[in-house]
Symmetry: C2
Subunit: 193 residues, 2 copies
Amino acid sequence: MGHKVRASREKLLKAAGELFFCEGYRAVGVDAVVERSGVAKMTLYRHFASKDDLLVAYLQEADRHFWNWFAAAVAPYAEAPQRQLLAVFAALARLLADPSCYGCPFVNAGAEFVDGEHPVHKAALEHKLAVRARLCAMAEAAGAQAPEVLADQLLLLMDGGYVQARLYGSRPSPAQHIAEAAAALLAAQGVKT
Amino acid sequence: MGHKVRASREKLLKAAGELFFCEGYRAVGVDAVVERSGVAKMTLYRHFASKDDLLVAYLQEADRHFWNWFAAAVAPYAEAPQRQLLAVFAALARLLADPSCYGCPFVNAGAEFVDGEHPVHKAALEHKLAVRARLCAMAEAAGAQAPEVLADQLLLLMDGGYVQARLYGSRPSPAQHIAEAAAALLAAQGVKT
DNA sequence: GTGGTACGATACCGATCTGTATTGTACTTT
DNA sequence: AAAGTACAATACAGATCGGTATCGTACCAC
């Protein structure tokens, strides 16, 4: 055992990711995930205790995916935090310009699961707190006058971009100007670019 | 007739607003709306053809409410568009600091209804387009170098603030720094404040 | 007062939801 | 070769969903 069990699990997570991200969490039933994944329904419940469990597992995967993307965006500018911050928002602008962009799994999760005690809400909040902390550390390294303030402001831009991308579909959204906005906020915080 | 019929309708819209806004659109069933409104279920369907119809009607009401709020925010600074823009984001910061803030009905609607042909999605997009147009007109009147760019950037801040407010519940969210961010974006666009 | 109507109450319909029970089979480990 | 297991397939349970049908009643205009 140990390799076959992963195959079903990953097929389920793949299908869950596509469906939940594109169509919404509550809008997609477990039957749809089962059908798309090609596994049996009982197999889903052997790997995940409930639909909520599957949602949390998907968000954990999305979290890993996000940080991989983030690392790739900042990699070319090691030791130059101000450039790294700009690079994140340049990459984000490219991401959001893709017509097949469905926003941010965590923003969407926050919209659908309002109860702060719900595990899906908690997962979304934790992710955003981690992003906030990371941006804050980069802002501090870049010499921002108030790193926490700058990090918060950048986070507003980021989440606003995700929202707009999901709303606008294929037409050009306000997110196309997100990189210049980030640069302006950096400049206002005394960060030389 | 004409006054009693409105009473039921408005009770329904009030209950719908509270429930849909606080708990989500798909998470709240028509039975919950009926129970909270205190009217009979058939009365709901005599006023609204379907749940989607009720959702759209609620969003129309939320749209009116938004523009009333907007007008009140900018009213003290007529003929001073740059001050009006700042005032909108100052009012927004107050709104988002309220622990009982559940974000933006239209942002939430965009997250839950992804299909661009769905009437709820359309209503959300139309609202955001109207806000964008209004911000653009104000940015132009304020003398921004690129009014459309500034409007888009401000819209990103605004929607990001709504998202964060819904995620953070009662603890201080990144949205507390939204007003300074708006001021920085205005300054970067050559708008004197 | 009489007819029309907006409403409350309740029971109901078919569909869909999450989650389970059952049975048979292919593969893996020892 | 035997035992254990991860799986497919299917049927099903119980709840909830959006929406309807029915009947009784209070109120309204004429």
